[in-house]
Symmetry: C2
Subunit: 488 residues, 2 copies
Amino acid sequence: MRAQNLTLLTDLYELTMMQGYFKNPTDQVVVFDAFYRKNPSGGAYAIMAGLDQVIEYIRDLHFSPDDVDYLRSLHMFDEDFLEYLRGFHFTGDIYAIPEGTVIFPREPLVKVIAPVMEAQLVETALLNIINHQCLIATKASRVCYAAQGDGVMEFGLRRAQGPDAGIYGARAAMIGGCIGTSNVLTGKMFDVPVKGTHAHSWIMSFPDEYTAFKTYANLYPDACILLVDTYDVLESGIPNALRVFREMRDCGLSMKGYGIRIDSGDLAYLSKKAYDMLAAEGFEDAIISASSDLDEYLINSMKMQGAKVNSWGVGTKLITSNDCPAFGGVYKLAAIKRSGSEKFEPKIKLSENTEKVTNPGNKTIYRVYDKESGKIRADLICLAEETFDDQEDMILFDPHETWKKTKVKGGSYTLRELLVPIFKKGICVYTSPSVMEIRDICTHEKNTLWDESRRLVNPQTVYVDLSDKLYKMKSDLLEEMSNKALEE
Amino acid sequence: MRAQNLTLLTDLYELTMMQGYFKNPTDQVVVFDAFYRKNPSGGAYAIMAGLDQVIEYIRDLHFSPDDVDYLRSLHMFDEDFLEYLRGFHFTGDIYAIPEGTVIFPREPLVKVIAPVMEAQLVETALLNIINHQCLIATKASRVCYAAQGDGVMEFGLRRAQGPDAGIYGARAAMIGGCIGTSNVLTGKMFDVPVKGTHAHSWIMSFPDEYTAFKTYANLYPDACILLVDTYDVLESGIPNALRVFREMRDCGLSMKGYGIRIDSGDLAYLSKKAYDMLAAEGFEDAIISASSDLDEYLINSMKMQGAKVNSWGVGTKLITSNDCPAFGGVYKLAAIKRSGSEKFEPKIKLSENTEKVTNPGNKTIYRVYDKESGKIRADLICLAEETFDDQEDMILFDPHETWKKTKVKGGSYTLRELLVPIFKKGICVYTSPSVMEIRDICTHEKNTLWDESRRLVNPQTVYVDLSDKLYKMKSDLLEEMSNKALEE
């Protein structure tokens, strides 16, 4: 049976730590940030996705009697703690960047402010969901970019890493820019367009290719994309398809949404030859769809070669983000409010690697847009209580190479806070847009990137700066810890 | 809501083809083979996994009223076909290689014999499940091989491609040889060991590292693995851990299952230093666990460097099979029995690439073992009706380079048929072993490989041959199709 309740979709250590906090009560409220460190596939950005599933997960959090029995059977948990779990629900606040938004490394994508036990429990599933969908939405955005406006179809379900990877991967691929998916269940669950025609087996189950094509055309005259590579594209597939198209035209059919699909061989060469053969008989408006282990790099190369493809079917390499199959998001403690205190005490995680040192405190993010072009100038991570006046000059500096500074003149920019409230005291205060609405948001979002940051190879980094106040807090903390270490 | 009914977890084209067959009834019974072409990660074998989930999927196949309503809303399907779907269930036969078995390219892993509409529908989900679990079980087998008998823990849930990739990925990782998973839900669903201790956030939420360790040790004295890299492994983590271990020993605790985990830095160097520090105080039996983006290559390298690690935590790169995130299994029509006929007519899918030409006919597989060592000599794909006498000499030949031949003397080998019946006329006739039983089977199976075929880089290929009869059938079909093409 498929699991319906995902409350146990967590690492065991979240539960052992929870029991630890339960047995050593502190009434601490903590801030955890979910963020990532490196854009996938060498890009300069990623796309936020998966929030709606995080919301569903948080709303549904509860330990069923079954779950509690299972945990008891591990002989690690005491009855008082199990009793606590029986009544568990999430009571904290969550802020997040809305789905479809362009995101950058080190920005809190999701911020959880909650009693430490609750904030700890949700780590694993939250990361699992966000990591997966951000990864696939980002990959889809890259593939669609390479397709230069041609439609990209997602059809990787058979190669996805399990059912959910297919279902939610297709959801994320739609957000990233695909025009449809082959995955019927995703279509049903998220009301997105589903598409598909036939396989080689259809052709092979008929005595000959022409009969297979003809039968298909009679069935679906308005979506008649014929797969032409079962025997030989140029010698058999295209001639038989042409015969069927002529017959359709002779019958006075409107000839919309008709065409061919090529699934093997030299797609650039075959598509050009196929186009010539189609055009020679007046079928220059036919859809020429290509598939076969495509990704953004191959599509880009085919575009360079002048391939006459106007529709792309992308499977394995999109649904698995083949060249970078993990997003690498992490969930780090940023601040603690001890019982009785009003103030968050900032926390920092050291690392040998400067880039891996976390940003402390209860933070938010402002996006700085160029007022005239609407393009992103930079993002600014700051403390949640900070405010900025967009009429004042703003000095942005690189948090690692601090001598790199830019002044943004007051009045020339606009600001937008990226983190929005999702849960308040355990109650969901946010309504997710539909997937197709998120897809529209994402289209707009991608246009806020400068072209130089969208290209596939060696794109221009978008600066993510720290506010003066946050930078000082971080430096002071590092200094303090380093001094403390010297003393010991 | 998570989908419970996976019947719509299919590509739309399966349904458009089904309607095509429905409207052009043929009463055809077909044979489809699910097989793969290339071992992942450059290995010489893969591990079969996922069959139990395929069984569950087939048993549960049904179109709910909701599903039918959704399909109607697409305006592609007629009422008579939707009515047929309402009553749909699977009535065919399925044969498969049991989970945990060592498998090789081009072997039918699952064979479906069913009316064409049924056989077509199940393609996508069947491939999705098998592709995913075979991939991860194979990767786990490689990682465990590199660990040379040390325990390998799966803890990649947060980086898995969605919830199912975590749940079933952990299941597959257990089959492939892991000793436990951090994934509590997998533990509950499949009764496999779950393990885990604490995160950096646990350490950071206490005023100092010692207090964090001490609190943890008091809670879990029998499973006290302390994470020592939050501040500084050698300067702070190990000294604090030593202090706690001394205190535990002084209290007369049995000191079982205690030790440290290192999650960053130079693991080889740090583990050796840590071991020296532990051993100097009589803690040479402490567990030294390492984690941090490990895979089989890194573990192998650390073993070469004499790292003093005896427990490995492997996350991202195992749960995503990072260097090869798709298994590439396909599902191809192999034979058709037309209505009224008693005989399967073999079908072949041509391809420019000889290796991609499918094997026709209703087939099975025999594994040829060396009688003395129990190791695999070769696999033999043959027609289902063929029988062999293990007292007779057997000539094996490479199906591509046919001059490569070996004689296996009668009496020196044993034979085992790999495909076993799973469904007969739609009824499940197979009971899956438990995951831990499959894991045992897999351990035995891996020992049937010669060492040369297990190594990580450039392993020796295991031959998968065709029987004379199958080879002749294939050659004749190819000849016939090629002659037919010349005539046209």
